[in-house]
């Protein structure tokens, strides 16, 4: 009986979208939802703007996305002023409690953070977790330190001071990078820890990826972390990293995706850190970026139409939309993650019942 009730509703929605597209929607009918709004992370902004632009072309639904930062996105969703938020780090328990209702984490792509450096001749550097942690702790201060040369037998590294460059603004990139350092170094975990902004033991700070990249390109002997997308676009050299299974991996779209492909390690809520992933070909500093939505969509006077439009959008992002990822240097979600994410989208409810 219920299914019978839904079918006409879908038909009606489609009809209304069609009418809206052809510009002759009659005012007597309930308005079809053709506008959705979201706010949050800046990291996936180029991807989202391309995705939502394509989606608008396919369905006529316009999605406004404001890249105001993950913090702002979480706040906007908490204040219920947007349909969805977006964040580079999953919500802490404290943040989730502040939401007042269960929130779903829907991953949209896999992002990686690379170590970029400025050395004469751009040697192909190899590093491992311990060495990276010790550099950022300020314990390894010169490029010809024995622990670095041991990993790079073919290279002659200069007797040059290492300048550490980090982000000065709070960012998901920093959160991913410091989570990695905490995973590979007990000392980092206890003395610094992980977060969107931390108390850096060494180095100078640059604002944004461009700030860090600018600082690296200015200073000989500097090393800093930036997003893979940014490093690829601006032709910056980056280091291979030894992953959890002892293999040196060059950061790339496929090695980022590999980090998320270890299905057994993905929890059903996908609220998971995938740094230092055990996958054989996985690049260790990788992470999902998420779209955040309320599980129960009947809040703050929202209509069923809005809930449906949002569900349709998320489903599209996880399926057809994934084709857009690679072209913009974002790794697409591996199959197990898509399956679990679609299950999460399917669990969205309106007034306690599943959204048709």
């Amino acid at each position: 009986m219920k299914n019978h009730g839904r079918l006409p509703l879908i038909a009606a929605t489609l009809l209304m979208i069609g009418l809206a597209l052809s510009g002759c929607s009659s005012s007597s009918q309930a308005p079809a939802v053709t506008n959705l709004s979201g706010a949050g992370a800046t990291f996936p902004y180029p991807l989202y703007s391309k995705m939502f632009d394509t989606y608008n072309g396919v369905t006529g639904v316009r999605v406004n996305y404001n890249s105001i930062g993950s913090g702002g996105g979480i706040k906007a969703l908490t204040d219920k002023t947007v349909d969805f938020g977006a964040s580079d780090a999953f919500l802490t328990d404290e943040e989730e409690a502040a939401m007042g209702a269960p929130v779903l984490h829907i991953p949209t792509c896999v992002g990686s953070v690379v170590l970029s450096y400025n050395l004469d001749g751009n040697p192909a550097l190899k590093l491992d977790g311990t060495v990276v942690a010790n550099i950022f702790l300020g314990k390894i201060t010169r490029w010809n330190d024995a622990s670095i040369t041991a990993l790079n037998p073919g290279l002659s590294l200069p007797n040059l001071a290492i300048t550490v460059v980090h982000r000065s603004d709070g960012s998901g990139t920093t959160s991913i990078f410091t989570s990695y350092l905490s995973a590979v170094s007990a000392e980092w975990k206890s003395s610094v820890g992980a977060g969107k902004s931390v108390s850096w033991p060494a180095g100078v700070g640059g604002k944004g990826n461009d700030g860090v990249a600018g600082m690296i390109s200015q200073a000989k002997g500097s090393i800093g972390y930036i997003e893979l997308v940014y490093a690829v676009q601006s032709n910056m050299p980056f280091a291979s990293l030894m992953n959890a299974s002892g293999k040196f991996v060059v950061p790339s779209l496929s090695s980022s995706g590999a980090a998320a492909a270890v299905a057994s390690d993905l929890p059903d809520d996908l609220r998971v850190n995938i740094v230092n992933s055990p996958g054989a070909d996985a690049y260790p500093i990788s992470s999902f970026t998420w779209i955040l939505v309320y599980k129960e969509q009947d809040y703050a006077g929202r209509t069923l139409g809005q809930a449906q439009a949002l569900k349709n959008l998320l489903t599209w992002v996880l399926t057809d939309g994934q084709a857009i990822n690679a072209g913009l240097s974002y790794a697409r979600l591996p199959e197990p993650a898509v399956t679990k994410a679609l299950a999460l989208v399917g669990s969205m409810t309106y007034d306690g019942t599943a959204i048709p």
Partner: protein, 308 residues
């Protein structure tokens, strides 16, 4: 007659309306400032209760452990602001005196135009210039200075060039158009009779400048410098790009540091925990109070100057 009284009444109404509008605008201005303060004070409550006054003199800023304190940023703000003022003031006076008393119109006009242009440049352009031109020069100086004193410790944070010194130099250049053009304006209104009188009494040009013009413009010069200092203290974008954004207490001028404005701009966007946000707002409150104190101090100095 009736015509006349009618127009008088209209005149009166117009005057009242104008005075009321003016009063409203004036009250709105004062109210905005008061509201600013109240808003900052109220929204920083979490931080004020958690850390109390020790927020002002402790120096740990750690978002992971949620320990926040303002001293490194207060030091960074005052050091860069006053450092920039110290460096730029002699240049500002020199430029203003040269343009007012030495340069002919053909020389002065283009220079004045360029100063105006420099003053109108968006600060991000100064920041980019600072990062790509000034910072490498400071870096060379650091290397030279490190070799000179033979101390690695002085330049232990590396010789990237970013740090307090780069910020001071950049701010000095940024506030120069303001202070020099304001001082110039006041030099230009020194009554010609005074200058001519001094010259007629046999004073040299230099004597006239020293004993007539400069004392005459002392008050407005202090005003100009305070305005420039205000700009230096609040400058955000350009400072962020060259100061190194270190949240630790700087030990030397070569160390990376941070200012209150720059720290807020850097971290506010992604600050999520309530205590973190409140602490950043308290930084804004401190900056607000510093601005007020400097303005009051300037007034006190001016009044003393007048009494003497």
């Amino acid at each position: 007659m009736a015509q006349r009284s009618h127009s008088d009444r209209r005149e009166l109404i117009r005057e009242h309306a104008f005075s009321a509008a003016g009063l409203t605008a004036a009250i709105a201005l004062v109210a905005t400032i008061v509201l600013f303060f109240v808003q900052l004070f109220v929204t920083s409550r979490a931080s004020r209760t958690a850390f109390g006054l020790s927020f002002l003199w402790r120096s740990e800023w750690n978002p992971v452990t949620e320990q926040f304190a303002a001293l490194p940023m207060v030091v960074g703000t005052l050091a860069t602001g006053f450092g920039a003022l110290l460096i730029s003031t002699p240049f500002a006076l020199g430029i203003a005196i040269f343009l007012a008393d030495y340069a002919g119109k053909k020389v002065a006009e283009p220079i004045k135009y360029l100063i105006g242009l420099l003053g109108g440049l968006p600060s991000v352009i100064f920041g980019l210039w600072g990062l790509f031109v000034l910072v490498p020069l400071v870096s060379k100086f650091e290397v030279w200075f490190g070799n000179l004193v033979g101390s690695e410790a002085l330049v232990a944070s590396g010789t990237t060039g970013v740090g307090l010194l780069a910020a001071i130099l950049l701010l000095a250049i940024m506030i120069l158009p303001f202070s020099s053009s304001l001082i110039l304006e006041s030099l230009l209104v020194v009554p010609a009779e005074l200058k001519e009188g001094a010259l007629a009494l046999g004073a040299t040009k230099w004597d006239t400048i020293q004993s007539i013009e400069l004392p005459y413009v002392r008050k407005s010069t202090v005003g100009a410098l305070v305005l420039s200092l205000g700009r230096a203290l609040g400058e955000t974008m350009a400072v962020t790009m060259v100061i190194g954004n270190g949240m630790k207490m700087p030990r030397t001028l070569f160390d990376p540091g941070n200012t209150l404005a720059s720290a807020i701009a850097n971290q506010f966007l992604e600050a999520t925990s309530p205590l973190y946000v409140a602490s950043l707002i308290e930084l804004a409150l401190i900056l607000f109070v510093i601005a007020i104190i400097i303005n009051i101090a300037a007034r006190v100095i001016l009044r003393r100057g007048v009494q003497q």
